[in-house]
Amino acid sequence: MSENHTTSHEGENHGTYGSYIVGFVLAVILTVASFAAVLSKAFSFWQTIAVLGVLAAVQMVVHLIFFLHMGMKSTSQRHNLAAFVVTALMVAIVIIGYLFVLWDAQANMMAG
């Protein structure tokens, strides 16, 4: 009764050909836009920083949805999303918490 039976990969977790293309095009557009924002010199220094920040944030969301398969459509997408949210929450707790604590670490020192 023995037969080789490699572990299966369910399809629901993976994107379709079309969704990868959409993600790729969006990523390229966002990347080109970032370079354009710097090279065109259309914005002032701080404006450029802000534009780059927004584009980077959108870029991250595009990657998460189209390449890391997060979303609400299938169970497995929801699992990916939940894992990401929990991780992000923990990282946020640690980083914000450490800044909060260590920033305050000299409160009782005369140094001020």
Partner: protein, 665 residues
């Protein structure tokens, strides 16, 4: 060739260690000789060491946990007797350097190699059975987890006889754990044994989280999951979010010590406080990782032995979730005195006090579960009643210390030591021992002798109060922890009482050992009526594990159960079980594998070689481990099917036993 390892690393001039070594060697040789004499090596290798069966791994975890309990308890005996003697000019029998290693080893062993090991034993045994799964999601990784834990336990014990162990406490605070102040290998033993066991725990967390999410029986919705599995679920989330922090802090400390970096040093821009934040943002969730499964055990036991459903199932789940979240944002209460201002300390103090709310909800849920129930005071039930009393006291002293102002007075005193033993012995330990006796008949098909369990409980309960209430008192009188000797006459009587208490605890440990010896005896030679024929060992089981034969067949469930609600098994007992509709089918199972033991051996070699700077052995270990994994990945012959004939034979035998049990009633 051998790095820093020379003959002088062997402490043959310390009589206590030589005596211990001879004892361990005699027992070890006796065990090996017995295995050889009875020609059991093949059996041991084929059936146990290479197993990927979660039930067998659970049993091996239990054995490891009990051995390490005895080891850690020996350390406790030494500390209490030392402090009973070392008063007013008497130096006691443990020199400070040795005493420091004893308390460091005691803490490290009890948390990482007793409590975590027992917890993983319970996860392994109970979780797949409760959710109607045939194994965990990644059986081979489960075996690797076990071997990582095992070899790091071995590594920590090697430090007894080759070199020394860490002398800086169970969390290895810098700067004293830095090379500048601690040039020996003790801290290195600590770092690598914690690091290797951390890999095992992380893999366990990943494995069981996936198992609970993906492998539940058909029809089992989230709110149909038994409470123990819920607590395991939340504990796994915390393992996954916090153990990487432990790994990072150990890695940074190792970089400081091995390649001269300056993360936590006094000079060169290092920050000791960063280490404290890192280690406690793992360390505090860690104690919730330990206690939540114990809460789960109590929930199962309270319902079973009260003959009632658990009171407030939904609030139990929600409270567990809230504790999980709050447990991640309270770490600073371990070092209120580090000098933060009022805003930081107030935030963390209040968050800490909040945790008492969901925990209190749980205590009331257990009380209301027992209320108007037909409570049967069998062994496991003793531990839960003892737990509720003891843990409530420990919880209240915890809330006391959550007040930063009060904590400034009792920080690092024996009051703190009394507090955390109060919650860890009264909560975690009582819970795991209760779970052990509760699920033992499921694993072996007969009950342990209850009378010895009850005596163990009585000694542990009384011994706990004798040992630790005096520590509250001397803590309030200003005695700091980790003290080797003292001159204060007020402390001496308290410490004598504590010393008596630790011997009462020793009687408890002895009763547990006797209980296991009798269990081993009963395993071969017991009265026929001691058999658990029905699989429902306590007669009032509510969850799925009691619906299958004991001991459990290796494929767990002949047919996957169909779940219709909470406590489906109990409801089916009341209303009559529907006849199985589905015909038996071949069951797909994983094959046993030698990859676990091989990777374990690599881990041991790598750990030992890193401690002693034997670089060539590190490389050999890594290369062998790498090719083992590659070889495994290319191996497609990893599974088999259990035949229908075998399952049918098991099912018919089980039906006969059930009929015999019914006839006997």
């Amino acid at each position: 060739m051998l790095g820093k390892l020379t003959l002088s690393a062997i402490p043959y001039d310390v009589p206590i260690l030589v005596g211990t070594f001879i004892g361990v060697a005699v027992i070890g040789i006796a065990v090996l000789a017995a295995v050889t004499y009875f020609k059991k090596w093949g059996y041991l290798w084929r059936e146990w060491l290479t197993t990927v069966d979660h039930k067998k791994l659970a049993i091996m975890y239990v054995v490891l946990g009990l051995v390490m309990l005895v080891r850690g308890f020996a350390d406790a005996l030494m500390m209490r007797t030392q402090l009973a003697l070392a008063y007013a000019g008497n130096p006691g029998y443990l020199p400070p350097h040795h005493y420091d290693q004893v308390f460091s080893a005691h803490g490290t062993i009890m948390i990482f190699f007793m409590a975590m090991v027992m917890m993983q034993a319970l996860f392994n045994f109970v979780v797949p059975l409760q959710i109607g799964a045939r194994d965990v999601a990644f059986p081979l990784i489960n075996s690797i987890s076990f071997y990582m834990t095992l070899v790091s336990a071995i590594l920590i014990n090697i430090s007894l006889f080759i070199g020394e162990f860490s002398n800086v406490g169970w969390l290895g605070y810098p700067p004293i754990s830095e090379l500048q102040f601690n040039p020996g290998v003790g801290v290195d033993y600590y770092i690598w044994s914690v690091q290797i066991s951390g890999i095992g725990t992380l893999l366990t967390g990943m494995n069981f989280l996936t198992t609970i999410i993906k492998l539940r029986a058909p029809g089992m919705k989230w709110m149909h999951i038994p409470v123990f599995t819920w607590t395991a679920f939340f504990a796994c989330i915390m393992i996954l979010t916090t153990f990487p922090v432990l790994t990072v802090s150990m890695a940074l400390l190792a970089l400081d010590r091995y390649v001269g970096m300056h993360f936590f040093t006094n000079d060169g821009g290092g920050s000791v406080m960063l280490y404290l934040n890192l280690i406690w943002s793992w360390g505090h969730p860690e104690v919730y990782i330990l206690i939540l499964p114990a809460f789960g055990v109590f929930s199962e036991i309270a319902a079973t032995f009260s003959g009632k459903p658990l009171f407030g199932y939904a609030t139990m789940v929600i409270a567990t979730g809230i504790i999980t979240f709050l447990g991640s944002i309270v770490w600073v209460h371990h070092f209120f005195t580090m000098g933060s201002g009022a805003d930081v300390n107030t935030f963390f103090g209040i968050m800490t006090m909040f945790i008492a709310v969901p925990t209190g909800v749980k205590i009331f849920n257990w009380l209301f579960t027992m209320y108007k129930g037909r409570v049967r005071f069998e062994g496991p039930m003793h531990w839960i009643v003892g737990f509720m009393i003891t843990f409530s006291i420990g919880g209240m002293t915890g809330v006391m210390m959550a007040m930063p102002a009060a904590d400034w007075v009792i920080h690092n005193s024996l009051f703190l030591v009394a507090h955390f033993h109060n919650v860890i012995i009264g909560g975690v330990f009582f819970g795991y021992v209760a779970g052990l006796s509760y699920w033992f008949p499921k694993a072996f098909g007969f009950k342990m002798r209850d009378v010895w369990g009850k005596w163990a409980f009585r000694f542990w309960f009384v011994g706990f109060y004798l040992s630790f209430i005096p520590l509250y008192a001397v803590g309030l009188e200003g005695m700091t922890r980790r003290m080797n000797h003292y001159d204060n006459p007020n402390w001496h009587p308290w410490l004598l009482v504590a010393c008596v208490g630790v011997f009462v605890l020793a009687a408890g440990v002895a009763c547990q050992v006797i209980q296991f010896v009798f269990a081993a005896f009963d395993a071969v030679n017991r009265k026929p009526d001691a058999h658990d024929l029905t699989g429902d060992s306590w007669g009032s089981g509510r969850t799925l594990e009691w619906s299958i034969p004991s001991p459990v067949p290796h494929y767990n469930f002949a047919r996957l159960p169909v779940i219709r609600g909470l406590d489906t098994f109990h409801i089916e007992k009341e209303l009559g079980r529907p006849a199985p509709v589905a015909d038996l089918e071949p069951i797909h199972m994983p094959k046993y594998s030698a990859v676990g033991p091989v990777l374990g051996a690599c881990g041991l070699v790598i750990g030992f070689a890193l401690v002693w700077h034997i670089w060539w052995a590190v490389i050999v270990g890594l290369v062998v481990a790498f090719f083992t994994v590659i070889h495994r990945s290319a191996n497609l012959d990893v599974d088999f099917y259990v035949t229908v004939e075998e399952i049918r034979a098991d099912e018919e035998a089980f039906a006969k036993r059930l009929a015999a049990a019914r006839a006997a009633e």
